[in-house]
């Protein structure tokens, strides 16, 4: 983490630009003069809008990263993936169940995984994508949900898959199935929701609403804190 700013050459879709080396790829594109529409979202590594493929000059290996979370390096050749036309299977969550049979109807291609691990290598979140696909194949939705959780749905895995699997959508379905049917519902939450709908919580809150500010202030300043 040197604090001295150096200038480096990067190649945006083949065109050379000279930019400070402290910038992220996204900032560097703006520095170069782009006003971003696609390929830019939360700018904080949460949304998956800025999936980027790059290669260092003289090297053949393709690397991946999020433009907002990757610093530029000298000799970086890069392009962003603005959109990926991956298929999403639609379903009625109340009709399907966490079973491989149901899953195979939604995403049959999941079961055609070739085991090449290209998806895992392409994940900017370092998720073991191929492993969660294997868990889905086995019907272990809990494990699939757990290890796929940090997925940003950027689409890089799908772009590299020879079996045309749409991993991020399959993972999302697995997480929703796990959360809806395997994780237990919160019993007291259901009871509290019932009480509210039955009007059992109205009296307490209306009493507060009808209090003057002085009274509210006193209650607030003296409230007990767990």
């Amino acid at each position: 983490m040197s604090d001295e700013i150096k200038m480096v050459d990067i190649f945006l879709m083949g065109k050379r630009y000279t930019v400070p080396d402290t910038l992220t790829i996204m900032d560097a594109m703006e520095y170069a003069g782009y006003q971003l529409k696609r390929g830019c979202g939360c700018r904080a590594g949460f949304c998956g809008a800025c999936a980027t493929v790059y290669r260092m000059a003289g090297d053949f290996e393709l690397k991946v990263g999020l433009a907002c979370q990757t610093k530029v390096e000298d000799g970086m050749y890069l392009a962003q993936i603005p959109f990926f036309p991956g298929r999403k299977a639609t379903f009625d969550l109340e009709e399907i169940k966490p079973s491989t049979a149901h899953f195979a109807q939604l995403y049959p291609e999941v079961f055609r995984c070739l085991g090449c691990s290209s998806c895992t290598k392409a994940c900017p979140q370092d998720i073991d994508v191929m492993q969660y696909i294997a868990y889905i194949q086995r019907g272990d939705f809990e494990k699939a949900a757990d290890i796929s959780f940090d997925c940003l749905m950027c689409g890089l895995c799908v772009s590299r898959c020879p079996a045309n699997i749409v991993h991020y959508n399959a993972a999302l379905t697995a997480r929703r199935l796990y959360s809806r049917y395997i994780a237990k519902p919160d019993a007291f939450l259901a009871e509290r929701a019932r009480a509210i709908e039955a009007g059992e919580c109205d009296a307490d809150i209306d009493q507060l609403i009808n209090s003057d500010q002085e009274k509210l202030q006193e209650l607030y300043n003296n409230r007990d804190i767990e």
Binding site: F188, L189, A193, C201
Partner: protein
């Protein structure tokens, strides 16, 4: 060692004092101390940087100058000839502008109520501050808690300036919102028996912060988005609304949309319109960096205001106490409040705690600004600004190794990408522009003063008074998104197709701008921030 040179020396002080700080309770401020630090150090209390706007239905309202600039702006359509009598490009019951959590919630409820629903959004569906909310969502769903206790926290945190009916709706619907999300298959942190894991946030009197690791908003957003697609609701991306259309009776009757890619204008006719465009952090009030999404440019506020919706607390901005300060790639980025919720504490240059770690956001931010300015005990950074430490490694010392990886995976990853292992090294933080406490005034159904025009989510105001608590924004978007969607659908079922769509309110607004001599080159809404350096 990620921190080199002088920082490397200073980090040793944090390490030296750490063992003596484990388990030690730093006292909370008294109400008088809180008021004092706010008045002296909170940017909202500073007279500079604000002005009263000269046009529109809330003429005279105080706003940050950057917001006033986009309000006192000419329509994008000023020099555009549009034929509003042609067959519209879209013709629906409920038009939802914005594809974040509020828009998605509104769409699901409107659709469930039988309304023909359209979402038009400026960037991708899900590109929103919702996606970035990390820490959690509040709801009083434990036996030792109640909506009334939650209410007291909300209004106390909001400096008793909340609209009571809105705060009531927020807390009463909260457990229903969590139940709705649970039923939709949202992966909340739970115990074996299904009980939600909940912790404190700044200003909470009960542990009612529900989370999905530190991707809480992302998890909610991707679940809602998936469900919107499951229901077959039409979503048009990269299509921003640039003006609300009113009908011959002055009701909202649709919007003029702008396809960012083909640069064409499109007409959407609708019986009701819901603005769910989010906040305005990308206006960078007072020059602060922001934790907000790229699209947070106040578009919905601008077009809703021109159509006649009033503002409330437009001068109340939330600075999140823990924005990233260093390395420079992390400047302004959110360090989730869950980090403090778990027990990480802010420290000054001497490695000493100087404020209770879970004061409300306004107070905590002000105390950090005081430490760096008046007290001159901030940590000077090579980038020329001062910051304070946030001692994350104390979590591993207190709760055991692995705590951070399990509880704060997003934070761990984000700092690691730029060379800081937060399990071993403290973070460097400074307040960042985070949230617009005010907005367009709504009633408990999300309705504005304009018939048929609704606002939900961060664009709406009044719910949180002048300071929102952590975890009440994710809650707000779900609660008021659902309320607006339901109400708009019900109203639409009793409303005829609007006639005489027009932009006369814009013409009238232009006349006011002319009278006040507004700058000619100010055109809005902004749609995209300008970060190009050349």
């Amino acid at each position: 060692m990620p921190y080199k040179g002088k920082l490397g020396e200073l980090v040793k002080k944090v390490e030296e004092t750490r063992p003596s700080r484990v388990g030690v309770h730093y006292p909370r401020m008294t109400q008088e101390e809180r008021q004092d630090v706010l008045e002296k150090f909170h940017p909202d209390y500073n007279k500079e940087g604000f002005r009263n706007i000269k046009v529109g239905v809330s003429k005279g309202a105080r706003m940050p100058v950057e917001m006033a600039d986009v309000f006192e702006a000419w329509s994008t359509l000023r020099d555009v000839k549009l034929d509003l009598d042609v067959e519209p490009d879209y013709d629906v019951d409920v038009l939802i502008i914005g594809g974040g959590g509020a828009g998605a919630s509104a769409a699901l409820e409107a659709h469930a109520a039988g309304a023909n629903t359209l979402i038009a959004t400026k960037l991708r569906f899900g590109d929103a501050n919702t996606m970035m909310a990390q820490g959690g969502i509040q709801a009083a769903d434990k036996e030792n808690d109640s909506p009334a206790i939650h209410y007291l926290d909300v209004v106390g945190g909001g400096r008793f300036e909340n609209v009571p009916e809105l705060a009531r709706a927020l807390v009463m619907d909260a457990p229903l919102a969590i139940k709705w999300l649970e039923d939709l298959g949202t992966m909340f942190d739970k115990k074996e028996d299904g009980t939600m894991v909940t912790i404190h946030g700044g200003g909470t009197s009960r542990k009612r912060m529900h989370a999905a690791r530190d991707y809480s908003g992302a998890e909610i957003m991707r679940t809602l988005r998936d469900e919107v697609y499951n229901k077959g609701i039409t979503v048009v991306e990269f299509c921003a609304a640039v003006e609300i259309l009113l009908d011959k009776n002055g009701r909202a009757g649709g919007a003029v949309l702008y396809n960012l890619e083909t640069e064409q204008y499109l007409i959407a006719r609708a019986k009701t319109v819901i603005i769910a465009t989010g906040g305005s952090g990308r206006l960078h009030y007072r020059g602060f960096p922001t934790s907000n999404h790229y699209g947070a440019t106040a578009d919905g506020l601008v077009i809703g205001y021109r159509a006649g919706a009033k503002t409330i607390y437009a001068d109340s901005i939330q600075y999140h106490p823990t924005g990233g300060a260093y390395p420079p790639q992390l400047l302004g980025l959110l360090v989730t409040e869950k980090t403090r919720g778990l027990g990480a504490t802010p420290l000054n240059i001497n490695g000493e705690q100087f404020v209770y770690h879970l004061e409300t956001r306004d107070v905590e931010s002000s105390a950090i600004i005081r430490e760096c300015s008046e007290r001159k005990l901030g940590v000077p950074l090579p980038t020329g600004i001062d910051a304070v430490w946030l001692d994350s490694p104390i979590l591993e010392l207190t709760y055991g190794e692995g705590t951070i990886e399990k509880q704060l995976p997003a934070m761990l990853r984000q700092f690691m990408r730029f060379g800081v292992d937060i399990r071993k090294e403290p973070m460097l933080i400074y307040p960042t522009l985070h949230y617009q406490n005010g907005g367009l005034l709504i009633d408990e159904n999300g309705l504005t003063a304009v018939d048929g025009l609704y606002v939900a989510g961060e664009a709406a105001g009044g719910i949180h008074g002048t300071n929102r608590l952590m975890g009440n924004s994710l809650l707000d978007i779900i609660v008021f998104g659902r309320r607006a969607g339901r109400h708009a659908a019900a109203v639409s079922s009793n409303t005829v197709v609007p006639e005489g769509l027009n932009l006369e309110h814009v013409a009238a607004y232009h006349r006011e701008l002319e009278e006040t001599g507004a700058a000619d080159d100010r055109v809005g809404p902004m749609l995209l921030p300008h970060y190009t350096h050349r």
